[in-house]
Symmetry: C2
């Protein structure tokens, strides 16, 4: 006889504009789920969800669908969808079996019946914290990896600037760049984060952008000889200031623009784009999903670095699905220190 259990969910209420609020989501304990696979349906897995990832791009899914966007909008009345780590409770899919651990796109709920498994990757290495598969070993980690090596085309000795540098992607980008032999400066939004950048992640320099009246002057202070590579996680005013400080033949990896995600109806303007021309700068947008074929190669590179302590990773973990909305909203005012994770269950 199949066990039917309560399945707490975080439901997306309706499309929003502007800054997101926790009240744009609602936690419900009304749903139940049958902990048994549906009969006569193959290719389905039942999961217990362990860790949820809060990622800046998720705000863009709370918007009415944007033409040409890289990921689907959330469905009003349905659970939030994000990256996460889950344990397979049962499976009729040939690639998964009971006990497997997976990461990929999952609903914000305690248990999921997943019919489209196309985003799921099996976790093969469990000698690291499982939550790492929401961060350094998951989507953000791969983003840092392809962004740095493929988009930034780095050369040893080059200068690199990383914004939102203590975040899920930024902290790894900076460390990869340091290992590669770049001079790396990061910006973040608090003294605590700046300390992390300098003392834990080994950035050469770091500054609190909120304390700078003039971002152009700040960048000139840290890059008296200009910026060769900008890893842009924020867009907006910082990008504008960076454009004035790029070196000739510099590269800008347009990874994210968190400063703009809450203003998509009236995006902030960029004024200094013309500087791409005299400075011969290449600015390239990218989406990590295009590069998942390189994931095994990435793991091969990053796992030893983690084990040897040459790369470190800071997570900001809240406990319980009920705290997930607050954790997500916190991203947009920079409340998280490091990768924002929600732990629903440990196993």
């Amino acid at each position: 006889m199949a066990e039917v259990v309560r399945n707490k969910q975080v439901i997306f209420k309706d499309y929003i504009n502007g800054f997101p609020k926790t009240s744009d989501m609602v936690l419900t304990s009304d749903a139940t789920i049958c902990l048994e696979l549906p009969k006569n349906e193959g290719g389905v897995i039942l999961t217990k969800n362990l860790y949820l990832s809060c990622d800046p791009y998720m705000r863009t899914c709370m918007q009415r669908p944007i033409d040409g966007w890289f990921i689907d909008a959330f469905t009003p009345g349905s659970p939030i969808i994000g990256h996460g780590v889950a344990k397979v409770l049962d499976s009729s899919h040939p690639d998964f079996k009971k006990g497997d651990l997976v990461w990929g796109l999952i609903n914000w709920e305690e248990y999921s019946l997943i019919k489209d498994t196309s985003s799921l990757m099996k976790i093969q290495h469990t000698d690291v914290p499982l939550s790492y598969y929401t961060g350094i070993l998951g989507m953000p980690g791969m983003t840092a990896y392809v962004g740095f090596y493929d988009i930034c085309s780095p050369k040893k000795g080059e200068t690199m600037f990383v914004s939102a540098a203590s975040g899920a992607v930024g902290q790894l980008v900076g460390q990869l760049a340091k290992l590669y032999g770049c001079y790396v400066v990061g910006s973040a939004g608090s003294k605590e984060k700046v300390d992390l950048l300098k003392n834990k992640f080994g950035f050469d320099e770091a500054f609190n952008y909120k304390e700078e009246k003039d971002l152009d002057s700040a960048l000139k202070r840290y890059f008296p000889n200009g910026i060769d590579i900008y890893f842009d996680n924020v867009g907006g005013k910082m990008l504008d200031a960076v454009l004035l400080n790029m070196n000739r033949h510099g590269r800008i990896a347009a990874c994210g623009m968190v400063s703009q995600y809450t203003k998509l109806d009236e995006p902030e303007s960029t004024h200094n784009l013309i500087m791409l021309i005299p400075k011969r700068v290449k600015m390239e947008g990218f989406v990590v999903f295009d590069y998942y074929h390189s994931y095994p190669k990435f793991l091969e590179m990053i796992l030893p670095l983690i084990h040897e302590g040459k790369i470190t990773y800071v997570e900001d973990t809240v406990e319980g699905l009920e705290n997930a909305p607050t954790a997500l909203i916190g991203l947009y005012s920079g409340l998280n220190v490091g990768k924002q994770v929600v732990a629903i269950a440990r196993a």
Copy 2:
């Protein structure tokens, strides 16, 4: 006994902001020049200047020097400097001799004594109009060539949009793209230019941007399946509309931003830059000076195409140095139809 002659000049008065005016330059007949090389000075050439080129970038030289710009500002009180074609009257430089024809940077004056010959290229092919070395066979032609092949990374069958498409660079870019097998649409600012694009240069489609209330809709009309390549000569509002219509993995060659050259103090804002990310677009600024080593290869490709009538080129020529200021200023309201040339002397 050395002949001393009158040397008419167009003098740059002083740094400006905003839209340029003919009164920002002054024509003077006060100067004279000795038509003999200075004694005891090697490496100098004396030229009679034949054709002057009016190029959009020149407005940026009328501005107080801009940090990081790709070319020097004009010197108040000295002649305007631009590209042009000249005949060598005498030379103490081993690379040049009397009777040689050259193109490169020359002063806006009838005769010049040139000490820095580094920008000059010797003209080897005179079975084409000499004025072509201000356009299709000079800086703008090379710009179109490297912009299209090196920056746009074109593939046969791709869709391409060219702004300022009947201008010195645009008309060649469009024709190169057609020969390559792209679907090419151009924008320009008058019916006459649109006719040229469609009937003389063989663009697939063309439109008058001044008649379009909504550039986004116009682009959607001509590119129902999106734009793979944008060759940007204008920046500003057109770039913003293009960003909404780019295809995934598209490329934007940032060649020029003529719409912005008159507003450098308060550059127009770009709002849709965030679309670089979901669309995985690469936007690259470039300056033709970096590619002059490819000039012989370019000539080898382009001269036969001109001779066979497979490429055509339209010039808008005014006669006389005294009309050069009006010709230059006309660029910024699009009065020129084709490449703007000033003929000072025919030989």
